[in-house]
Symmetry: C2
Subunit: 302 residues, 2 copies
């Protein structure tokens, strides 16, 4: 027993719309006899006549009229399904879940997301703010497709890629004795420091190593979890802090920011994604790379 295929529907719709087997066969690019046969098979399969035909006239039965509407809808659905799947496969439609820590949007990421949205209007970008320790779990569970963080973990399933590098600023409480436009790390050796929690933050440990490299072990008065909290603690008088350049854009009234010029310090942000992350994530990464290259070129030229 033959089963119904889309071919039967295509043939039937052609005949039903032309009300002629020969015209339909011509339009379909097949000969007339196989068309007649396929229609016959379809009618046998359904168990009722769809077309009433004499040698001079072809007309739809009531069943045929109903079936025509549905057949066209099915063919349309099939076309639509393939187009949608293709679009999703290309990464031009769908939902892209981006995971990041709260302070990350202050840097180039905001503009990057805006540009991506402009290019891929069919993609809905969902931004999930989450603490660094939850990011890996979110990626692995598929909750997010791509995450941005300063501490790329070593995980065989996950790939990390440098997104951008920032300079380091020192945050000084208002009225602090240092008044120079820029500072060196060593002139901070007698200060009290507010740090990110060393246990969690690769960035904090990196800064610590830099201090040691500059010849002193910093006195740590407080440890915070969120980078944005550091500024507030400085404002409250707990000491000074070293923060990524772009976090300093989130200005605070009772502190001042000064770039650290010696040694040259940098805070790296990494894009982290799953090995089998979708095409949207790859498109995002591609845009990110081209954007980084553009920035580098501009810096070189300007």
């Amino acid at each position: 027993m033959a089963v119904m295929e889309l071919r039967h529907l295509r043939y039937f719709v052609a005949v039903a719309e032309k009300l002629s087997f020969t015209a339909a066969a011509d339009a379909l690019g097949v000969a007339q006899p196989p068309l007649s046969q396929q229609i016959r098979d379809l009618e046998t399969e359904i168990g009722t006549r769809l077309l009433e035909r004499t040698t001079r006239r072809v007309s739809l039965t009531q069943a045929g009229q109903d079936f025509l509407v549905r057949a066209k809808a099915i063919l349309h659905s099939a076309q639509d399904a393939t187009e949608r799947a293709h679009a999703i496969g290309c990464g031009s439609v769908g939902v892209l879940n981006v995971g990041l820590t709260g302070s990350m949007l202050a840097g180039p990421l905001g503009g990057l997301i805006y540009k991506f949205q402009e290019t891929f209007v069919g993609v809905d970008i969902q931004i999930h703010e989450m603490s660094p320790d939850k990011q890996i779990a979110a990626l692995k569970s598929g909750q997010t497709d791509i995450n941005f963080l300063r501490t790329p973990p070593q995980d065989p399933d996950l790939t990390s890629e440098l997104a951008w590098s920032e300079g380091i600023n020192v945050v000084l409480p208002k009225g602090h004795s240092i008044t120079t436009e820029s500072v060196t790390l060593s002139c901070l050796k007698d200060e009290k420091f507010v740090f990110l929690r060393l246990r969690d933050s690769l960035f904090a440990r990196h800064i610590l190593q830099c201090c040691i490299g500059s010849g002193f072990y910093p006195t740590i008065s407080q440890q915070a979890v969120e980078a944005a909290s550091l500024t507030s603690l400085v404002a409250a008088g707990f000491g000074v802090a070293l923060i990524p350049e772009f976090v300093a854009k989130l200005a605070h009234a009772n502190v001042t920011y000064r770039p650290v010029v010696s040694p040259i310090l940098s805070a790296d942000v990494h894009a982290l994604y799953h090995l089998r992350s979708g095409p949207m994530a790859r498109n995002f990464l591609a845009l990110m790379r081209s954007d980084a290259e553009r920035l580098a070129t501009e810096l070189r030229q300007g």
Copy 2:
């Protein structure tokens, strides 16, 4: 270039639901290699991967997840379309348009329609009241599927079939001199008559012939178009009228009804339908015949 067929969807859905080629192949009753090949063809056709597969694990891509939902919907639609078409072909669902004149429902037709509705619950019966001259046009244009009238026309496209026969009653105004339980036609020879318009009504001409056959030419004081109007004209004092038995069921306060027993008169109602009327009409006719037969048997026995 191969085109997509329902087979591809069936295969894909099977694999996507089992998340295993071998299990799906087993369920589909085919070997695993052709299944792999069909999936590959489908992916080529769509232009993107739908399934991510290693030798140990099969998983859906984002495109695959979307496509799975749509593929299942399409297969369901196809099944639904065939079932609906089959049902329409059998006459068990659809709309049956019945055309009739206003007074026709008083007879056996009401019960017949009720019984038909009980048997074919999927059929929506639409009753169209219309004047006799519009019935043929309605049938030919497809506006109605089956019509009931007392004057079957001779038309090569239309078939008529005796639906039932009724006796004839005479309608007398209240206080008329005739007081017997039943009357003969000849004892009405000196009455004034209200008739249906002779130009339109085969029934009226039939009655006229019967009067002539009984030895008199009736004095016609008024002619009406609707059978139901005759009773009102009698009540108004325009004379007496001869009407089909079942129309007399529509009782009127100021008249009395008496059967005409000699000669035996009958008013026939015919079912009229198109040569290519649908299966619902045929089902209705079949029920009508069996009902008529049942009535005849009951009459014979009782």
